[in-house]
Amino acid sequence: MEINRDNYEAFLLDMIEGNLTAENEEKLIRFLNENPGLAADFDIKGFMLPSEENHFSFKDDLKKGGLAQNVTKNNYDQFCIARLEGDLPAAGTKKLELFLRENPEFYPGASLYDKLLLKADRSVVFPSRIKLKRNVVKPVPVRKLVFRIASIAASIVILLSAYLFVTGIRQEHFAPQITTIPPFTDADELISDIKIPEPALIPESIPDDLQVGPEINQETLLSKTSEVIVKEEPFSGKGLPYREREEPLVLSEQRLPGILVIESHGDPHVFTIAEITGYGKLPGTTEFADYENYNSDSRTAGIIALFSRSRKPDEEPDRLTFWDLASAGIKGINTVTGTDLLLEREYDHDGNLVHVAFSSGIIEFRRSTGNE
C-alpha cells in the first residue's frame, strides 16, 4: 500500500505503537522526507507521553517493612513521624540523619515534626468532681460498735452523775413505798372505802414462788380469811380457777403474802397487777412474770393492792445508785439509737440485789452479784 496524505496518520500510529513493518517504516520515512510540511507538524517526541519518573507516593506505605527501606524524598515524612512516635529503630534513625545531611533542603521540614507533640493543659480541672464521688460508708466492727455504745452510755452516766452532783437532786420516789398499817386495825373500814372495780377477780391460788420485797411490812397484810365471801365459779375465763369476789375485800395472808399495800396519802386506790408491775422498782416484780399465765386480762390479777407513792416520812430518801444511772443511760441509748437494750435487776427478800441481767439483740447474759 502506498503512503499518501490521506493515510499517512494510520502508518504513523502503527509506527508509534510498534506495529509497522520495516518496509512500511522505510516508506513512511521516505514519505515524510518528501513532504517536510507534514513532518514539521508532527513532532514524534511531543506525541509520545513523557515517561513517568515520579514514584507512586504511597507505594512505600503499602510495602511491608517500609522503614527498613532507604530514606527518599517521598518517604522521609514517614521516617520523621516514626521518629517522633518513637517507632523508628536505631538503623532507621541513622538512615534519616544521613538522608538529611545529603539533602539539607529537607531539614527544615523534618525539624517541624519535632514541634508537633501536643502538651496537655493540666490546669484544666473537672469542676464537679465532688458530685461524682460516692459517700464512703466505713464498716464498724461489732467490737467497736459495742465499745461505741458503751462509751455513749458511760458518757451519759457521767454527765447525769455530774448534773445530779452539782444540783444536789435526789432521786424521786417513783417506786411504791409501803406504809405500815397496824395489823387488823380498822381493816374492814379501810377496805370498805376502797372502790373496787367490778368484777375483781382473785386467783384461787397464788404461785408458790410469788414473793415480795422487804419493804412490804407483814403488818400491812390483812388476814380475815373467814370473812371472805366468795361465789365459786371455777373454770370460767381461760379455764383457770378463780373466784369472783363480791364482798369487801379481805384477803388472806396465805393467799396473797405481802402483796397488799396501803396508800397513806390521797385516795385509796385499787391497783391491778399491770399497774403494779408497771413500776419497775417494785420488789419482786420479776416474780410476777409467770403470773400472767393465770390471767389474760390485766385486771383479773386479783391482787388488790393499795400502795403509796409518797415517801415514808421518817425514812431517808433513796440515794441514786450506780444501777439507776446505768438504767438511765441504757434508756437514753435506746431513745437515741432506737435499740432495745434491757437491764434488769433481781432482789432477794432482804432487798439485796442478787442478779443482774442484760439483754440486747446480740448479747444476753445474767450474772449473780454474790449477795445471795
Binding site: 515524612d77 514517614q78 513521624i81 517522633l84 512516635e85 521540614g109 517541624l112 515534626y113 514541634k115 508537633l116 507533640l117 501536643l118 502538651k119 496537655a120 493543659d121 493540666r122 484544666v124 480541672v125 473537672f126 469542676p127 464537679s128 468532681r129 458530685k131 461524682l132 464521688k133 460516692r134 459517700n135 464512703v136 460508708v137 466505713k138 464498716p139 461489732v142
Partner: protein
C-alpha cells in the same frame, strides 16, 4: 456463713468499691474532662459526658479490671462524644479536614497556640487519636481499644494528623 458476717462482708466490699471508685474520680476525671473538652469545646457537654462515663463505671465497677479503668472511662467517653457529635452534625465530615477554616485572621505568636488551632481543624477521629497519643501517652493498641479501631487504622490516622499539622505549622511559621 452467718447472716451478719455475710452482710458484713457485703458492707466491706461496698466500702472498698466506693473507695476505689472515688480514687478513680481523683485520678482520671481531670484528664477525661480535658480530653473531651478539647474535642468538643463545650464545657457543659463535656461535664455531662464525664459524669455519664463515671456513672457507667460505677455500674460496671466490679467487672472492670483496676488497670483497665482509665481505658474504660476514655472508651465510654469517646463513644458518647462521637454519638453526640454525630447527632449534632456540627462537623462537615467525620474524617474530612475542614480546609475552609484555613483562612486565618488571627495573629499567632506562640507555637503551642498554633498547634492547638491546628488540632481544632483536624477531623474528629484524627484529633481524638492524636490527643490520646500525646496527652495520655496511650499505645496504638490502647487507642485502638478505646476508639474501636485496629492498630493499623490508629497509625494511619496519627500519620495523617501529623502530616496535616506539619503542613499547617509550616505555613504558620512563615506567617509568624
Amino acid at each position: 456463713m452467718y447472716l451478719s458476717s455475710y452482710y458484713g462482708s457485703m458492707r466491706v466490699n461496698l466500702s472498698m468499691s466506693i473507695e476505689h471508685f472515688n480514687k478513680c474520680v481523683d485520678d482520671h476525671s481531670d484528664a477525661l474532662y480535658h480530653f473531651i473538652l478539647k474535642n468538643i469545646r463545650d464545657e457543659e457537654k463535656a461535664r455531662d459526658i464525664v459524669q455519664d462515663s463515671f456513672e457507667k463505671l460505677w455500674e460496671k465497677l466490679e467487672t472492670v479490671s483496676p488497670d483497665k479503668v482509665k481505658s474504660y472511662l476514655f472508651s465510654i467517653a469517646y463513644h458518647t462524644m462521637i454519638d453526640m457529635l454525630r447527632k449534632d452534625k456540627r462537623r462537615v465530615g467525620f474524617d474530612h479536614v475542614n480546609e475552609e477554616q484555613h483562612a486565618h485572621s488571627v495573629q499567632y505568636t506562640d507555637l503551642n497556640q498554633v498547634l492547638h488551632e491546628a488540632v481544632k481543624l483536624l477531623p474528629d477521629i484524627q484529633r481524638s487519636v492524636l490527643m490520646l497519643r500525646d496527652y495520655e501517652g496511650y499505645s496504638y493498641s490502647e487507642i485502638g481499644e478505646i476508639t474501636g479501631l485496629n492498630e493499623s487504622q490508629v497509625k494511619v490516622y496519627i500519620y495523617r494528623a501529623r502530616m496535616y499539622m506539619k503542613k499547617y505549622i509550616g505555613r504558620m511559621e512563615v506567617l509568624i
